[in-house]
Amino acid sequence: MDFLDVFMPTVWFVILALFLSLYVILDGFDLGVGILSLTSPGEAQRTILMTSLGNVWDANETWLVLMGGALFGAFPLAYGTILKALYGPIFLMILGLIMRAVAFEFRENVVNKRPWNLMFGIGSVMASAFQGVCLGTVLSGIPTDASGHFTGSPWIWVSPGSLLVALTLIQGYVLIGSTDLILKTSGELQRLHIRTARLAAATTLGGALLITFTAPFVSETLRQRLFDPAFLPFFVVLPLLGVALIVQLFRSLALQQDVWPFVYTVLLFILSFAGLGVMVFPAVIPPSVTIFQASASVSSMVFMLTFIGVLIPIMLFYNIYNYIAFRGKVTSE
């Protein structure tokens, strides 16, 4: 294989991982806030929660669209196979995202907000849960024939493994959502979310540990990768960093810090998804179809990279500007 035949699919794998991480972190806190809105003590508090999302949820959701487009363009075979295998959960996730978006806009226009509050919260729970199901199913492996086409049952996504990942992802989203709210609120509302963050940190940690210890039993490939000496450095360094970050997270929560709980949570998310990337690379349809088999032509990937590669920093720039313009606490006014 030529250099580009190896290099381009790898670059696109990394870009996909970047988009996935950005989506999970950014829309993750939107979805987490959405789930938490179900537990808001009153309408005034819920309005603060929703206002904190107003300027960002749409752009955050767009990272998912971008990930879809990049997967489609760079790995068309994987796009077709994975989405077809996940017909049910993808459909339910989209349903959840539609409910969330529409309830958010409709709520603005009514006096009796209760039905739309409910739809917003349930939509957020649904979207999170089925994103977890998709992630869990892909990690457990998608059966394919020699040419990479899906050969499994349409119910492949119904499994204990995908359920575990779904529950953990919900916990993770609640964690990042509460730490975001610690950042964006003050007073009683902030103290409430310090408590939810502590709880969610514990349950997320429990789920993540369960996933780590059961993964080798679910998937042959994951087992081999975990015990592959070449990858040993990763599997020593990543958990150590993880432990350090978790300790720091709990410490910052105990100290009632404003910014640091969110920062540590984001770092933990990045670490987890880096870990997942190391686990599956170079598979793009785990367990067997690699990025080299599923990729578009090299010229196609080069073409996409020239456009999207230039745009990535620009997109990050104006998204960051948006956050800076709206920084600070959200008040009820």
Binding site: G54, N55, V56, D58, A59, T62, V65, L66, G68, G69, A70, L71, F72, G73, A74, P76, L77, Y79, G80, T81, I82, L83, K84, Y87, I90, F91, I94, L97, I98, A101, V102, F104, E105, F106, E108, N109, V110, F150, P154, A296, S297, S299, S300, F303, M304, F307, I308, L311, I312, M315, Y318, N319, N322, I324, A325, F326, R327, G328, K329, T331
Partner: protein, 469 residues
């Protein structure tokens, strides 16, 4: 075989349903955004609160519309993978890249600046706010470009070769700039501006008929008329050009939208059917009202055809579109609405010129007001009809001449697709109902003329406002 055929039909129905519903929303997201740019430009230049109130009022409708557009767009992208996996694999090299560009260039730009545009009036300086509105409009219209480029490629695939079940790109720029691209982008961009402007005019006419905020809505009505003066005639030209390129490149679609069953040789002057009753079983029109000798004028602007026109009967049944009646009438509905909008615009301008466009006019001539009010749904109907012509007329191909729709669909359990199809149908009916209801509430409330514009030179002067005020 029969069960996989059912899945094809179900997936087609689902794509049609989700596309027809989705198309309702980007119309305002792209067209009304340009209107908002104009209004905010007026405000920035004059600092007259009148224009600020204009921008804020129309932005309210914009938000209501935008969220549903984003939400209903998600199933569009994902369906290429779930329901059309073979198409994704066949054309992913090009088609996927284009959807990726749309996301990165257009969608993100629009979404990234939307927050500032909607909620940032007090957070950023007016110039930055104006730039954000421009970026939202620019992003939305870039989206038109990429989506129409991708769809045009399905109509007139170019820029590469087809072998072993794949499209291999050789030249990306000629694939993006495929034969249909330029005229299709222009036709669609004009359509969104025209329909959005009709929506503004319709709401203004409705309010003027009821004498609500007359000065406010008289201005927006007149601004709409000025925009329509430019757009409505151009759209008729762009539509004509789009029809001519169909005649050149997609003979089966042309024959279907004109219900031409028999071959029309070069050198003849066939009639053009205004209305007809096409009968697929016999391959004839049971009845028609036709203008003698008009077809060659329409297609080639000449008294005789220089190129023969092939009739539907001379194509094998599996190489031409069916549902001829739908195509024939969808095409005519679109044209009739385009013409009527231009006519109504001319009438409005004439009245204005003769000094007869007083707010009283709308009350005393309810038919005039109602013609404008109905022009808004008519604009949407024209757009949907155009898409029916474009995509049903392309059948039986997904990629014209290269990939059949039957081969482009995923083999899925029919029950699964039926479930999602029915759910979408129910959910979308519900969403449309509520969107119209909330839209009506915004109109009933009317513009908020007491809104204080952000003060020039106060808190908003710094690029970054002070946190936690």
């Amino acid at each position: 075989m029969s069960s996989s055929l059912d899945v094809v039909t179900l997936s087609r129905l689902q794509f049609a349903l989700t596309a027809i519903f989705h198309m309702l929303w980007p119309v305002l997201s792209t067209g009304l955004a340009i209107f908002l740019v104009i209004l905010e430009g007026f405000w920035l230049r004059t600092r007259n609160p009148f224009y600020y109130h204009q921008a804020r009022f129309w932005a309210k409708l914009y938000v209501l519309n935008f969220g549903i557009g984003v939400a209903s767009g998600l199933p569009m992208e994902f369906q290429f993978g779930t329901n059309w996996a073979p198409l994704s694999e066949f054309a992913g090299d090009f088609f996927g890249s284009v959807l990726g560009f749309e996301g990165a260039m257009a969608f993100m730009l629009e979404a990234g600046f939307l927050g500032i545009m909607l909620f940032g009036w007090q957070k950023v300086p007016p110039v930055i706010h104006f730039l954000s509105t421009v970026m939202v409009a620019f992003g939305a219209n870039l989206s038109v470009f990429w989506i129409l480029s991708a769809n045009s490629w399905l109509q007139t695939p170019a820029g590469g070769t087809f072998s072993d079940g794949h499209f291999h790109v050789q030249n990306y720029f000629s694939a993006i700039n495929n034969p249909f691209m330029v005229k299709s982008v222009i036709h669609m961009a004009l359509a969104t501006v025209e329909t959005s402007t009709l929506v503004v005019a319709a709401i203004s006419a409705w309010s003027l008929m009821r004498q609500k905020a007359p000065a406010f809505f008289q201005f927006s009505f007149k601004l709409a008329l000025v925009i329509l003066l430019a757009v409505a005639p151009l759209q008729i030209l762009a539509g004509h050009e789009s029809g001519v390129q169909v005649a050149e490149r997609q003979p089966t679609k042309l024959a279907a939208i004109e219900a031409i069953w028999e071959d029309q040789p070069a050198g003849t002057s066939p009639a053009w059917s205004v209305v007809a009753v096409p009968d697929e079983a016999t391959g004839t029109n049971r009845w028609k009202l036709a203008v003698p000798g008009a077809l060659s004028w329409i297609l080639e602007s000449r008294p005789q055809l220089s190129q023969p026109v092939r009739g539907l009967n001379s194509w094998p049944a599996d190489q031409r579109p069916h549902m001829v009646g739908l195509l024939f009438y969808a095409f005519r509905v679109m044209i009739a609405i385009g013409m009527a909008a231009a006519g109504l615009t001319a009438l409005g301008l004439l009245l204005w010129w003769r000094g007869g466009l007083s707010t009283e006019r709308f009350r005393r001539w309810p038919w005039f007001s109602w013609a404008w009010i109905l022009s808004a749904p008519a604009g949407y109907l024209a757009i949907e009809s155009g898409w029916v012509v474009r995509c049903v007329g392309r059948q039986p191909w997904t990629v014209y001449g290269q990939l059949r729709t039957a081969d482009a669909a995923s083999v899925l359990p029919p029950g699964e697709v039926l479930t999602s199809l029915v759910t979408f149908a129910v959910l979308y009916t519900f969403l449309l109902g509520f969107a119209l209801f909330f839209g009506a509430m915004i109109l009933a409330k009317g513009p908020d003329l007491s809104l204080e514009p952000p003060q020039n030179g106060s808190a908003a002067r710094l690029p970054v406002p002070s946190p936690s005020a």
